[in-house]
Subunit: 231 residues, 2 copies
């Protein structure tokens, strides 16, 4: 009952075993509530191994995130590039912009299939559990990629004020991040009517919902907004 469903292969070396196990546990139980004892026992390595290889528990988390995020962002870049090529000088349609942004996120994980969306759930949990920490991760790994996609959105929706682009991209990101940790709630509240295991359906619905959201009329500009630093 305490075991992971898919046991970590013995062939892997210590570092890989730790990383893989930690991802599973952080995704399923959260960072603070997962102890190094639990990780090392599950990974069948020594308790001291985490501190030896990664310096600290947070060091392990940082490495884990880096390992997943870097290739994910490369995928995003190349997908957006491909869509740009398809559309030559035309702006990339918004649906495609978000496809390039979302799909690599949902496809991230151990090669061979991360069917449970462990990385996604971990990200979703962390952004609520350690918002300060995630902001630093964000600064390190997402600044450039976000700028790329914000620009693509601006091209697709040239009439939208920059402030609104940020708001709506923020909504999109929030939805994407929370979609995994909140799935169980949908299953219950829909009395099982919604196929929450259908990742493809989730992605399509997310993209459709987000793109439609971008069609919403601009919020009333009140006095507060006037003092913005709009260049």
């Amino acid at each position: 009952m305490n075991n992971l469903s898919k046991t970590v292969p013995i062939k892997m070396d210590t570092q890989e075993r730790i990383l893989e196990t930690a991802e599973q546990l952080f995704a399923r139980r959260g960072f603070e509530t997962t102890s190094l004892r639990h990780i090392t026992k599950e990974a069948r390595v020594n308790l001291a191994a985490v501190n030896y290889h990664f310096g600290s528990k947070e060091g392990l988390l940082k490495e884990l995130l880096r390992m997943r995020i870097v290739p994910m962002n490369e995928k995003r870049r190349s997908m957006l590039e491909a869509f740009r090529f398809q559309n030559s000088t035309q702006p990339v349609p918004l649906e495609n912009v978000f496809e390039a942004f979302l799909r690599p996120f949902f496809g991230t994980g151990s090669p061979g299939g991360d069917s449970e969306g462990l990385f996604l759930r971990m990200m979703g949990r962390l952004s609520a559990e350690k918002p300060g920490f995630m902001e630093s991760i964000y600064q390190e790994h997402f600044r450039d990629i976000q700028e790329l996609f914000i620009n693509a959105i601006k091209e697709a929706r040239p009439n939208l004020r920059e402030e609104e682009v940020f708001w709506r991209f923020h909504f999109a990101l929030t939805l994407m991040l929370s979609s995994m940790t909140q799935r169980q709630r949908l299953k219950i509240s829909s009395h099982g009517r919604c196929q929450t295991d259908d990742i493809e359906g989730l992605i399509e619905r997310l993209i459709a919902f987000i793109c439609a959201g971008f069609q919403s009329p601009v919020a009333s500009e009140n006095s507060v907004a006037a003092m913005g630093v709009l260049s």
Copy 2:
């Protein structure tokens, strides 16, 4: 630096002091990472008082949630009722349905103004940090209210398949819950361009985005969906 900005009034009795302080700390630092020692010190009550009055740390959390959620849901009910009255036999417009659902959530908190959205942030954190626990809270407090609003949405969008109604309501709920804990990210990523403190602007943008999202075309119905239990 360790003190809460607004100190708990001495006049309050022990239970109230504990509840108020706990809300602040759970919202700001999360449930697991907030100790009873921290709460009781900040509230200037005895360490044993929490267990005496609430049985356990989780008992305290349950009471705290109950205290906020019950009146919030009453507000939702009465607002939806008022909109129904305004529209006599016509369905309530979707914008109004979500206004009745969202506004009491953002208006929940200590009377006199919960300007920092403590209750909201607490809810957002908890639903990521303790999803299992929140599902039980959900079952206890949200079943009826959700049914009420799902029905109102069905009336406003009679052509939408029930499955899609659940999906989109789920997206709306997810956005609402996460909007507070994720605000800081928007502030950073927009380089301060977005007025994230402007709750009214946030509510308007949320409603607009969600209602527009409900206009999205229905996702392709693949083979998996066919086996649904659509009554």
